[in-house]
């Protein structure tokens, strides 16, 4: 489903203006990446779209439309959200975790079993059904977290640095898996990252944000051919050129990192 954000303003408390008049449009089936320095409000955009940003914490104005579903700060129904932390339920096995979303949405037992088995196979988790999260690696947990979201088939998926805590190898493997899943399903994906090369590898479009307050500063269409292979793009000259080009225009944002900025970033993290 398409996502349209118009004039989104978010203020935490009295004067922490996190997002300033953010406008962005994501087409149905499009994969966009949001990149920016920490504290620029990338996560806040996702939290606002998903409705987990509550009005008690923040003042939110503007309009968020998902498909034909309008409004801000409300609960969305056909939405998935993959976090940086895997957020698996520690008392559920990998399989039970993958089924959680389907269980909430009252899928039949047969449907749950079938979809779960398919997805587990897709990301190479088959054989680990009965393991508890603490027994598997970080990469496997993040895979489980990803397919748990895919399992209930949301049309729009928000991803907040989902591979941020993984090592470089695992990250690229998961990027490749995500690309192939997206190519096969054409979900709408908004992917937040602070890693420019990840943003270029994954996104059809890269939106660059600035901070204090957070704004969408620039937009870059990435014309690398599909399907992309993160392992090939690593060190690819076209990719490197794009990276340099975007980097030139946004380096100012990363250049100064005063204490005040870090403080703002921390405050945002705590409240979001």
């Amino acid at each position: 489903m398409s996502v349209r954000i118009s004039n989104l303003n978010v203020t935490f408390g009295k004067d922490l203006h996190v997002l300033d008049d953010v406008n962005l449009q994501v087409e149905d089936g499009e994969f966009i990446t949001l990149v920016g320095p920490s504290g620029c409000g990338k996560s806040t955009i996702l939290n606002a779209v998903s409705g987990i940003l509550s009005r008690e914490q923040a003042t939110i104005t503007g309009e968020i439309e998902i498909g034909s579903d309008k409004g801000t700060g409300k609960k969305r129904t056909s939405l998935g959200y993959v976090f940086q932390k895997d957020n698996l339920l520690p008392w559920r096995t990998v399989e039970q975790n993958v089924k959680t979303g389907m269980e909430i949405r009252n899928y039949s037992k047969e449907q749950q079993n079938q979809r779960c088995a398919e997805l587990m196979q897709l990301v190479g988790l088959d054989g680990f059904e009965d393991y508890y999260p603490y027994q598997v690696s970080g990469g496997m947990r993040q895979r489980a977290s990803l397919i748990r979201t895919l399992a209930y088939d949301p049309q729009t998926i928000l991803m907040d640095e989902p591979f941020g805590a993984l090592d470089a190898q695992t990250r690229m493997t998961l990027q490749a898996e995500l690309i192939s899943i997206w190519s096969g399903s054409k979900k709408t994906i908004i992917f937040v990252t602070h890693d420019l090369s990840e943003a270029i590898t994954l996104g059809e479009r890269v939106l660059v944000m600035s901070k204090n307050p957070g704004r969408v500063k620039g937009e870059y269409r990435i014309d690398l051919p599909h399907p992309r292979d993160p392992f090939q793009l690593f060190g690819d000259p076209d990719c490197a050129a794009l990276q340099t080009e975007i980097w030139q225009s946004i380096r100012d944002e990363y250049k100064y990192d005063t204490d005040a900025d870090e403080e703002a970033a921390e405050r945002e993290e705590r409240t979001s």
């Binding site: 998903s50 609960k75 939405l79 957020n87 909430i104 603490y134």
Partner: protein, 262 residues
Amino acid sequence: MSASRLMIPVLRILFLILFLLAWEYVAGGLWADAIFSRALVAPPSAVLVDLYEYVTSGLFRIDAWATLSAAALGLFFGVTLGIVVGISFGYMPRVAAFFEPLMVAMNSLPRITLAPLLLMWFGLGLTSKVLLSIITVFFIVFFNAFLGVRSVDDDLIKATRVMGADRWQLARIVVAPSVASWIFAALRTTVSFGVTAVVVGEFVGASRGLGFRLNLSAGVLNTPRVFAIMIVLMIVGISLVEIARRAEKRVLRWRPPVTTET
């Protein structure tokens, strides 16, 4: 490997035999004159004989039934009440805040000090023992259930809510397992405190029960009987704690194993 693994059990048994022999010796048992008065320390041989006599007598059945039934009732109602009130308070922060000073005060009070009052109010029978056990068990379970609700990882709530969970689904999928983990982690303490409360209640005043019999025997310097009942209580304690340990291990098998066993 296997030799060193056998080492500890073998040493334990050797130590136990030596200890019993030494005890037998100083207590003036089978072959020696007593160093300590027989009225103060009974030799193991006399304890064993008395244990057999006691356990085969009708008295034992009456006492054991009194103590165990009181403990079972105390544990059942104490746990139930603790869960219900703990979860309710967890979901109602204002109510919890209102009652906090009372709960803290009650929790600081050594529960056994209630025994004389309960005895005055409810008599020598089963009721006063059950109530003391309920109160003791209640506070342990209450605090764990309460913390179980309060300490639910906010990120797990968010992640589950985003998947579309309503209030009840959140309670079932996220809150209940968290509460259960806290309660089961404290289960061993809960069980042994539940039994201890009954025994103490019986010390203070009763007409039957293991605690009552122990206290009575000590009063008439029937030392072998005191030791015999201590052994019975030890066996009861070990069995219950072992059951609790297994239940805990089963329910909490999703937790990374802890290396230190206590």
